[in-house]
Symmetry: C2
Subunit: 106 residues, 2 copies
DNA sequence: ACATTACGTTAGCTGTAACTTACCGTAAGT
DNA sequence: ACTTACGGTAAGTTACAGCTAACGTAATGT
């Protein structure tokens, strides 16, 4: 599976989005990420592994802690994927809306 | 669940991404979307319902056909969500990379 | 050396999302 | 009116994602 796909699938889960949004506040260790979330700490670890494989987060060891932060490369992959649709879909959409009056061909 | 979340969850599924990417070629009826996909036609209908609820596709009736097309509003919702991360994460990322030499404070 | 803290990993359970099959309504052609 | 094509919906099954509990490991403090 390509990277954009993994990133989209990763952010498709509610809990992972919660973790990811928590990381927006800055780099944090696992325990702090788990604090307040409705799932256990090991669950957060599993989610972080998925996010890491998707290129969405990066981690660095800091003593006994492991600090995670957002990796912009995963975000870039998604944005690139989205941009493939933008132009074409906008054209199609506008064309469809504007052709409300004429529907007599074919 | 907010709209951006629904859109992300919708595109998190492989089959739905396949349908969505097929729509990049332009508006198409359901049978044509199902053609070539590894799932049955009813399955495609179910996926289209999810995509529609997420604001990612729009449909119009055309005789006995029902033509689907990409709805740019869903794409816009995802893009807006992504943009919330862009600036902050880039700063954090660069700050972390650049502070490789100094790790003696705190 | 021992205890403790912080995480990752594994095994096993469970809810649910995705799928198929079957069915029904509707639009259009003959 | 009958038929055919198109597609949404319901019911039922199944594979897997996400969770917890338990365990293992590495680093730090005392």
């Amino acid at each position: 599976m390509a990277n954009q796909y993994r990133a989209l699938a990763a952010l498709g889960d509610n809990t992972r989005r919660g973790i990811f949004e928590k990381l927006r506040a800055g780099p944090q260790p696992v325990s702090e990420l788990a604090r307040g979330l409705p799932v256990s700490r090991p669950a957060v670890s599993q989610h972080l592994k998925v996010l890491k494989d998707a290129g969405l987060v990066a981690d660095r060891v800091e003593g006994t802690r492991r600090v995670y932060q957002i990796d912009p490369r995963g975000l870039g992959a998604i944005r690139a994927w989205l941009d493939q649709f933008w132009t074409a879909s906008l054209e199609n959409y506008r064309a469809a809306v504007e052709s409300d009056s004429r529907e007599n061909d074919e």
